[in-house]
């Protein structure tokens, strides 16, 4: 018997397997025409277009993209990574909300999470390191865009949106910093709040509004919690939607250099 390559062997095994299931009314009600999960999918230019066009992905990607933009060395996938990290943080964050109360119990909840919840420590670590990574990746994304001159016409306004997204990312990270309610959290936030109080004219008011008082207390904790899990995610999703939409409306990826 001739030796098959991995690809051929995969084809042989997958050919016909599950065809009946993939052709069922149930499956075809889920997967739209052109989906690789539908029976009879073949790799043709038409179907390659349909994979995107007949799919919810069409909201994110066009059917065709510039050839140079596909190269990993051009974008380094930094924008996509920022978005992906945001999704990971949303999922792990929602999971963490099950075990966390933004009250005097906050610290005890974190301790319990780390010691007596399955995968609690791992998910908390993922949320924290993922947040730091996201700040880093968003910043690198901005630098990449700058060095490619990708903020130039017609993309000026999308750069502005991007700067707003960077600041929203920082706010999200900063408000989350207080939530473990340990010495590291409270004093880092105190330092940050004191910086904000140097604002001319409104300094004291800004600090009071941020801390819900004169210093960081459990009222501050509740305030930061609501900002962290509801307010800033809500705002950032809106700006992200505009950001992605403008990327396509402004002619896709920039360049080539």
């Amino acid at each position: 018997m001739a030796k098959l390559t991995l690809k051929e062997r995969f084809k042989k095994v997958s050919a016909g397997s599950g065809d009946a299931a993939r052709a069922s009314k149930f499956a075809t009600s889920i997967f739209r025409p052109g989906s690789p999960f539908r029976k009879g999918y073949s790799d043709s230019p038409r179907n390659r277009s349909y994979v995107v066009m007949n799919n919810v992905l069409y909201h994110l990607h066009p059917v065709k993209v510039k050839r140079h933009g596909v190269r990993l060395s051009y974008t380094l996938c930094l924008g996509g990574m920022s978005f992906f990290l945001f999704i990971v943080l949303t999922i792990t964050g929602i999971w963490l909300m099950f075990y966390f109360r933004p009250t005097e119990m906050a610290y005890a909840d974190i301790q319990a999470l780390q010691t007596s919840v399955a995968f609690g420590s791992l998910v908390r670590n993922m949320h924290r390191w993922g947040a730091h990574l996201m700040v880093l990746v968003v910043f690198l994304h901005m630098s990449r865009v700058f060095y490619h001159g990708a903020y130039k016409a017609p993309r000026e306004f999308n750069w502005v949106i991007g700067v707003i997204l960077l600041f929203l990312t920082l706010f999200l990270s900063f408000t989350g910093y207080l939530l473990p309610w340990d010495q590291l959290a409270i004093w880092a936030v105190t330092v940050g709040g004191n910086m904000a109080s140097y604002t001319p004219v409104f300094g004291a008011q800004i600090k009071f509004g941020l801390f819900a008082g004169l210093e960081a207390t459990t009222a501050t904790l509740l305030r930061f919690y609501v900002l962290h899990v509801l307010f800033f995610p809500f705002i950032i999703v809106i700006f992200m939607a505009i950001h992605f939409w403008r990327v396509r409306k402004d002619g896709g990826i920039s360049g080539p250099l």
Partner: protein, 294 residues
């Protein structure tokens, strides 16, 4: 000169080659001006058909002209001598022929009539120019080289996504996120440090007036200044060698921000005094309990 698309050129070359009975390559070369155009093709046929006339040894001039000229010209060229003959030809074809037997008219009138059509059919068209289909409004952008999103973009995306996920899980399994003792407003740690992305700012605060370092830098330079970059930099080029000033400025910013942050994270100890991390240790609690093996 209009730049004729290759496929149109090829198609007309094929038509020309078929009409003239030459090879496609030759026709293509002629149209590109690389070789002399073939015009002699209709000559032999005319000569062949006209062969009877030179036999008569009559009026060589009118016979020669039609040879060189195309079919329509032929009908007119003999005009000074034989115009009526051509018109009369169908009528006189049978009867008056013997009367004018000496003249080359009857055979000429008959044969050229048939010959007239043949070259017309053969050399029916020539490619003068190709007018590109263009919209009335000029499109702003030229067509660009594109590839299908699936799989050329989505597959690399998926792979890098999985790689990032693997990296994050691995990182989280190895590095333990810090958790110090419970928050206590009465015990101030020394030094109290902000999150790392604000530490460059905190470091700047130790040099300058807080109104400048704490507010002007983040708000005016950070938010407004960065947002205004595309409106300040009106240079349309995106080639790095043509925007050295912009790149230099941004690199200065990166170097400055990076230096301040690294100093703030690693080189500042109690009382915000200078320390060396390899001598006094790291005074940044976010980096505590890093290694987490079980």
């Amino acid at each position: 000169m209009v730049d004729i698309p290759e496929h149109l050129l090829l198609r007309s070359a094929e038509a020309r080659a078929k009409a003239l009975g030459i090879t496609v390559e030759q026709a293509l070369a002629e149209m590109k001006g690389e070789s002399a155009p073939t015009v002699v093709d209709d000559k032999p046929e005319v000569i062949e058909v006209d062969l009877p006339t030179p036999v008569e040894a009559e009026a060589p001039a009118p016979v020669e002209t039609p040879k060189v000229e195309a079919a329509p010209a032929k009908a007119e060229a003999p005009a000074p001598v034989e115009t009526p003959k051509v018109e009369e030809a169908p009528a006189k074809a049978e009867a008056p022929a013997p009367a004018k037997a000496a003249t080359p008219a009857p055979p000429k009138a008959d044969t050229p009539e048939e010959v007239d059509f043949a070259p017309e059919v053969k050399v029916t068209q020539r490619l003068l120019t190709v007018v590109k289909a263009k919209p009335i409004q000029k499109a702003a952008s030229e067509p660009v080289d594109k590839v299908n999103t699936w799989p050329h973009l989505m597959l690399p995306e998926f792979i890098s996504l999985m790689a990032m996920m693997a990296f994050l899980i691995l990182l989280s399994a190895i590095l333990q996120a810090p958790l110090l003792e419970e928050a206590n407003p009465n015990i101030t740690p020394n030094p109290a440090k902000a999150p790392w992305y604000f530490l460059g700012l905190q470091e700047a605060l130790s040099y300058w007036d807080p109104q400048i370092a704490g507010v002007m830098i983040p708000l005016v330079i950070g938010l407004i200044g960065f947002a205004a970059i595309p409106y300040i930099d009106r240079n349309k080029e995106n080639n790095p060698s043509k925007r050295k000033y912009a790149i230099m400025m941004y690199t200065f910013f990166l170097a400055g921000a990076g230096t301040l942050t690294i100093i703030g994270v690693l080189f500042r100890g109690p009382g915000w005094n200078w320390t060396y991390p390899w001598i006094d240790g790291i005074w940044f609690d976010d980096l505590l309990d890093w290694i987490y093996f079980e």
